[in-house]
Amino acid sequence: MTHAQGSMAADARPGLGEPLLTVRDLVVRFRTHDAVVYAVNGVTFDVAGGETVGLVGESGCGKSVTNLAIMRLLAKPAGRIEGGSVVFDGQDMVKLPESEVREIRGRDVAMIFQDPMTSLNPVLTIEEQLTETLRAHKQVTKEEARARAIELLSLVGIPKPETRLKSFPHQFSGGMRQRVMIAMALALEPRLLIADEPTTALDVTIQAQVLELIRDLTQRLGTAVILITHDLGVVAGMTQRINVMYAGFIVEAGLTTDIFANPSHPYTVGLLHSIPRIDGKDEPLIPIEGAPPNQRVAPVGCPFAPRCQWRVERCDTENPGLQSVDASSVTVLTGAAATHRIACFNPPTHEEAIAGRPLREQGNPA
């Protein structure tokens, strides 16, 4: 039995500072023969070295597509980056030729996916898959690669790594497969790890194991992490900053502590009131009525307006864009002093955020 402590504070992490990844006005669309899907509609955020940043939202909000676009892994030919830039370590990933992107992938940026069964090759042994990554990027002999693979498996807590190397993915449990995925992702000590719902398919006690492993290893290696999840509990314990996404837009961004202490976008407020909690008193849930918008229609106005209790007239026609909550002029995108920003014309007050509904006359569309 081990006891794990919650995430370390933002400013206590090494290598923090310069942005490692700069995403500006990223636009991603999927064009099929009869429709256009407006998946990501101008997303801007930074990730500094060593930081853990959460991308939170529900199915279809564009959180996964954003990261596939960063990695240039969008399904072709339908998925296209139609605007903006993704600068990783000084290079614009959008403009780089495929061969160079391939170099960066795996070596500098690695990814862990939700379902470890479908992201591991079922007909290759763990050894073949682990050493493939190593040998593709580094000049190592087969023996060196094997030694490193054993080292990696023991690093992620797989017992008897020498014998387990010969196993196939189906011989592992879900949690163990996810450990193998983590070993593969961290094989080359990347500077950025993108973890897309890494624990969603796992049981809660196994989730705790895997999250602790990710936190522990990335802290030790100084790896920056983008954690994509729908689970507000997971981001609360794992991240220093959060971007809340809805229908392809970032609607709230800031320090994790700020957003949970002072949720300021109606969608974030709604999410927090939609989940029952095991701590404290059991409160009635206040669901967000309706459903997310059809993303085959070009977005007009605020995407959340049709479901929003705080909607005002201009929400239907104008997109508010991200603004700092306290109207300060300087916007900090990374680190412990990151500005708390929301995209909202009529944000809930603190009392309204606690109540989960508008308490003022003018804020209520009814």
């Binding site: 049981d203 006690t205 701590d279 603190h350």
Partner: protein, 406 residues
Amino acid sequence: MTITTPISGSAAATAARADGTPLLEVEDLAVWFPITEGIVFEKHVGDVRAVDGVSFSVRRGETLGLVGESGCGKSTTGRAIVRLYKPTRGAIRFDGTDMAGLEGAALRKMRSRMQMVFQDPYASLDPRMNVAGIVAEPMDIHGVGTSAERRERVKELLTTVGLDPNYAIRYPHEFSGGQRQRIGVARALALQPDLIVADEPVSALDVSIQAQIINLLERLQGSFGLTYVFIAHDLSVVRHVSDRIAVMYLGRIVELASSEELHRRPVHPYTVALLSAIPIPDPVREVNRRRIILQGDVPSPVNPPSGCHFHTRCWLRERLGNPERCVAETPVTREIATGHEVACHFAEDVDGSREQRQSTGQGALSTAAAPPAPGSYAPAASSAGSSAAPAGPDSAVPAAPPAPGA
């Protein structure tokens, strides 16, 4: 047979809720699935002991939560209750009748009083039937009403679950996940059942939609006096909807208590570990929380560990110096407090422990009386060092209203 009661909130429903008699009694239920070898001559080589001796009762109008991780037997228990599986041993008494031995027409008749809502709203609706057909099917099977009456009833049911009755002619693919789950609930209500077994009814849904369905189920229980067996892996959801909760591990119930008692005072080491593993959506609490990380995976139900099934992963056993009793002797279910059952030899050692307190974030709560810092922008680090974590109203927006005097 005709439809007699129209759908509406009724006084009978409220009366049923107050009644304390058990609607469902499960006694020593076991469901084993045989493992066979050979193609021509099937040889019985073992059993998957999915459920292995489970006893509980559900009172009329009550919600019993069944919670546990994959493979703990919670879904199998649920399915055995409605007799989708035949029990290997044990009794399932529904309203006084033992379901375990029923067959044919008698079973079918009892089944109309119990319905299921399934997890996957995509797989549990026939894609070739329209909504009217899906919702009316239970009535067709049980020969309830004329076809005109059924049509009317479908419209009523759709309205009840919050769907436009004009959607009756549409097909499942035209609906979102949340709407499909509403259709599944309407179908379950069609025969006016007494008991609904809901197997992970919200797990496949997005957070904002989950809350809609949970509230719908709660509202329906209030209006129709329904009794629920609510099966889920998510303890926070189960706590929210249940009056009492049974925690399962590897085919057995390890702890059973009222929802509040289980969260305030979990006494089985597995329950404590399970609670501590649930992430709390509050960074300030998360940073001060110590979780119990269970080592390894759940053992196979084909060959479960001897004695207490949990002994291979138990943190308490390790602390007590690995007593032999856990391996040798199956713990009997005993009452540690009124209505609070536990199957652990050493439950008293859990009670009052630091692990118990911290599992639900109460460790950080002990200093909640400390003055909160409204609108505090302090990073988590400032509170991480001190034990007096400011768990003030700001950090617990959905959970607690501001303390008086704050």
